[in-house]
């Protein structure tokens, strides 16, 4: 588990606390990187744990940061809530260098949290965790009627879909009209 600390700003991230230590220390000193979410709390994560994320792994393999540089430049994930990023970091640490089990029962039961976790995991490209999350999302509607599914997954009705489509068209029309007017103004 990584330990965290409230940061002060995204430009000057807070000094992270001690790195997560596995029971058996590796012979070669492991490199660490730093990530923070919307709440600016910086998480120190080992390169081994970050290998789960294709996105971060791709970033760090191209950077060649030193420990100091990594500390000074945490990866900002402003679109991910702090508690969700914490869950992701915890999962990566727990499964560092281990084969992933067929099921993961530690996923959030609350649907909003699960949906947010899915979005974060998809963005960070953590394939195994995405698979677990999607299974969990599918399980939410097992044995449910269409009405129950609609409620659980917050699916709009046809009428709501049509209204949203009309609204989107109206908005697009207005935007197009605005652009035309602006272009005409520029021409004058």
């Amino acid at each position: 588990m990584s330990s965290t600390e409230q940061g002060t700003s995204s430009a000057a991230p807070a000094e992270p606390t001690t790195a997560p230590e596995s029971a058996a220390a590796p012979e070669v000193p492991e490199s660490f990187y730093y990530v923070h979410g919307k709440d600016k709390v910086v998480h120190k994560v080992s390169a081994g744990a970050l290998q789960h994320s294709a996105l971060i792994h791709g970033m760090i393999s191209n950077l060649g940061y030193t420990e100091e540089q990594a500390k000074a430049n945490p990866f900002p994930f402003e679109n991910i809530d702090g508690d969700i990023l914490q869950m992701v970091v915890d999962w990566c640490n727990q499964h560092k260098g281990k084969p992933t089990p067929p099921e993961d029962t530690n996923l959030p039961k609350q649907k909003e949290k699960l949906f947010d976790l899915v979005l974060a995991v998809n963005y960070l490209e953590i394939k195994e965790l995405l698979t677990y999350c999607c299974k969990q999302v599918a399980m939410m509607v097992k044995g449910k009627s269409p009405e129950e599914i609609r409620e659980i997954w917050m699916i709009p009705t046809d009428a709501e879909d049509e209204a949203a489509e009309k609204e989107a068209k109206k908005r697009a029309g207005k935007e197009a009209a605005g652009e035309t007017a602006a272009a005409a103004g520029d021409a004058k």
Binding site: I84, E112, F115, A138, V141, I149, M154, I155, T157, D161
Partner: protein
């Protein structure tokens, strides 16, 4: 990922890889229920459902439960809905039609089988037959599980273009139907009423006469007559039969020129193939057992030197 963006139709479903992964982890029954939520969900679910099963069955069990069942035997799943005893057959049928059309559209399966229960009121029966007739080209197999001789005759006359037609119910001892019948494949369970004359005049490719009242002796006489040329039957007719004490060696006991050899069937099991030849060495019929579930005999009528 603010709260507002997840208020309706969560953003997770707007990401194709996520959506696909979620849908692939759902059972067909849940996919059907999801497809009923809106036009959008129907279109979303459709590509996944079209890959599920090549063969689907729709069954109407119109007893007290009034159950409509969709099943896909390939992947062993089933989805069903029921009406209470207070709802009439007609109402059940009318309300089911929309759902059935929806599921047809969803799975777009090239192979649909329908099990009709027609021992109900005439209005519902008429409507169900009309519905099935309109879909005859997509119905690969039509079953009638009821016991009404009138309905059985009507189906035999009405659905001669349906790929397979099955009469599965126990029809009365007095039931008879005028042949020739033209169904490409006709499967008759409880076939006590089917005579050798009926089989001779069948015009399709294959006929299964199961739990027949015919006996080894009837087949023996028939084969001799077929061999001598005094009886006609469509060449290459595939006849499947089952009856009490069925025994091929008894059937061919006093018939000359019968060859026996072991063959391996498509299920990799071995069986003896009996081949009946004419004096000029042309083959007139080949026979073997088909064992799964219960013992059946397959006879293929020939007039050639072809061997299986």
């Amino acid at each position: 990922m603010d709260a507002q963006s997840t208020a309706k139709f969560p953003n997770v479903f707007k990401l194709y890889p996520v959506l696909r992964e979620v849908l692939e982890n759902m059972e067909p029954a849940e996919l059907i229920n999801l497809s009923f939520c809106s036009k959008r969900t129907l279109n979303t679910v459709k590509p996944v459902c079209t890959n599920i099963g090549q063969q689907m069955e729709i069954g109407f069990k119109f007893d007290d439960t009034k159950t409509v069942t969709f099943a896909c035997p390939d992947v062993r799943w089933e989805a069903s809905w029921q009406q209470g005893p207070e709802v009439t057959f007609w109402k059940t049928w009318r309300s089911s039609q929309t759902k059935i059309e929806h599921i047809f559209q969803l799975f777009n399966s090239p192979n649909f089988a329908a099990k009709l229960d027609l021992d109900i009121d005439p209005k519902t029966t008429k409507s169900m037959i009309e519905w099935a007739k309109q879909r005859e080209t997509v119905l690969s197999h039509l079953y009638y599980c009821g016991t009404s001789g009138r309905q059985a005759s009507k189906l035999l006359r009405t659905f001669h273009n349906c790929g397979r037609l099955s009469l599965a119910g126990n029809l009365s001892q007095r039931f008879r139907v005028n042949f020739p019948l033209e169904s490409p494949i006709l499967i008759i369970h409880n076939a006590h009423w089917v005579t050798m004359e009926n089989i001779c005049s069948f015009k399709g490719q294959a006929i299964a006469v199961l739990q027949s009242s015919l006996r080894n002796g009837n087949l023996n006489v028939f084969l001799k007559e077929w061999k001598s040329g005094s009886r006609r039957v469509d060449l290459n007719l595939y006849l499947m039969m089952s009856f009490t004490y069925l025994d091929i060696s008894t059937i061919v006991l006093d018939i000359p020129h019968v060859a026996r050899r072991w063959i391996r069937k498509t299920d990799n099991k071995e069986t003896i193939l009996y081949e009946v030849f004419n004096d000029d060495n042309t083959m007139v019929a080949s026979m073997f057992y088909e064992e799964p579930l219960f013992r059946k005999m397959i006879i293929i009528f020939r007039d050639s030197q072809d061997r299986l």
